[in-house]
């Protein structure tokens, strides 16, 4: 199945990715955000907050946004 993955970490990424049936949000994050901690990210599915065990459906919209991003002096 395909889900729209929006990664707001770094330069940003938004595209459809292939995902196995029955993939949970937690598993999806661990696969596509390797080395990152889910506690430091805001994960929303279809613009809603969901728990980590939520099973993704075909066509779902998953967005991942860091909760801590460093600003800088221009």
């Amino acid at each position: 199945m395909k889900v729209l993955f929006i990664n707001n970490d770094g330069g940003g990424f938004a595209d459809y990715v292939e995902t196995a049936e029955g993939t949970t949000v937690k598993a999806f994050f661990e696969k596509h955000m390797q080395g990152q901690t889910s506690a430091n990210h805001l994960i929303r599915v279809n613009r809603q907050h969901v728990h980590s065990g939520y099973v993704l459906q075909d066509g779902d919209r998953v967005s991942v946004t860091p909760t801590k991003i460093e600003g800088a002096l221009r």
Partner: protein, 402 residues
Amino acid sequence: MRRRLLVVRNPGRRLFSPHRRRSVHYEKRKLFRLADQIRDGILTREKQQLVDLKYHIESIANTASQIQSIRKRVAIISSGDRMVCVSRALMDEVLSLSRDLDRQLHVFGTIDTRPPKKPSLRDIVAEIDALEDEFGGWRYDPDQQVVSVTTEPVTLEGMYLGPFEVKLHVNKLPKLYYTIEALDPQPAASNQEVTHPHVNSGEMCEGDARAAIAGAIREGRITDFFVLVRSVLQTYNSGSPFVALDSWHGTPCKDCGHVVSEECDFYCESCDCTYCDECYGYCQECSSSLCCGCLNKCQGCEYWYCGSCIELCANCGDHFCGGCTQTCVACEERHCENCTSECEQCEEVHCESCMDDTTCKQCEESSPQTDLDQPDRGEIQHESNQEQKSAEAQEATCGASR
């Protein structure tokens, strides 16, 4: 008696007044109008980016054309039989074109070439609706055409900064423009315009979020935009703030550590540090403003002087101002009053080293012998008589011998 039959057209649903129904539809219509305005702005921005891309390509093409022209000229020059050097003007032209091309290619390389996902009206309405869940509500000011959300109170490293309102200016959307307003301002003592370490005069430094914010707006992901801005506000980058948190309430004095605000601090040009008014002074001679550490106290008059206006006594080594020192006439060095005295004879000022008791060495050498050094008159007369007698005796002896 006639009985009126109440027909509940929608069993289980509460009857509501027609005024309320009109209110719900009116708000929905406003929401769609707002979403439409945002969408138009985003699409206009896309068109503007296309115009920019066209400009960049034309610039590169023009530069390439000029390089072609130089290529032909060089070919003509090199085709002749004579040995000809390339002129300085031609080399300068090549160098200038090279720099232009390098700059243009660099800018061209930063252009996002990914095909943008044009947001639908429905998508943008859903994005605005999602702001309710994420931020507990949103606001639209039709006069200023600003969509805004309010964050929770921000506290960074124990420093309370208050909540912030993030305002997206929809009417300027061809160009991304948003402002940050502190709702409970706790500005830095050194700069009232800095209400957050990364917010100055309502503008936030995006830092690592720059590309993601631009991408979110380009694709109409309004909620992601506000969430990204909130993430920056909730993070402190100690390496690059407008004002560091440890100096938020002022700058500590370099000497005593007392924190002073920008209006009350003093800057020492000598050591390049900030001080409070207690640890700061000025030179009595030239009025330079310096810290107490860079000023020296004259041991004579006890006023303070900068390093340029104070001297060291060549004898005792203490600090004295120009008014409290004198030049020794003999060695021409500067000495304090304690280390100099006047010669009794020449009445000139001399240092201790150039004095011999109460007279200077020069006067001591040049002056005649005193009575103590000369024999007295009585001794001189006695010696004279003795010499005369010995001379008479010698004559008598010589006469007798004849």
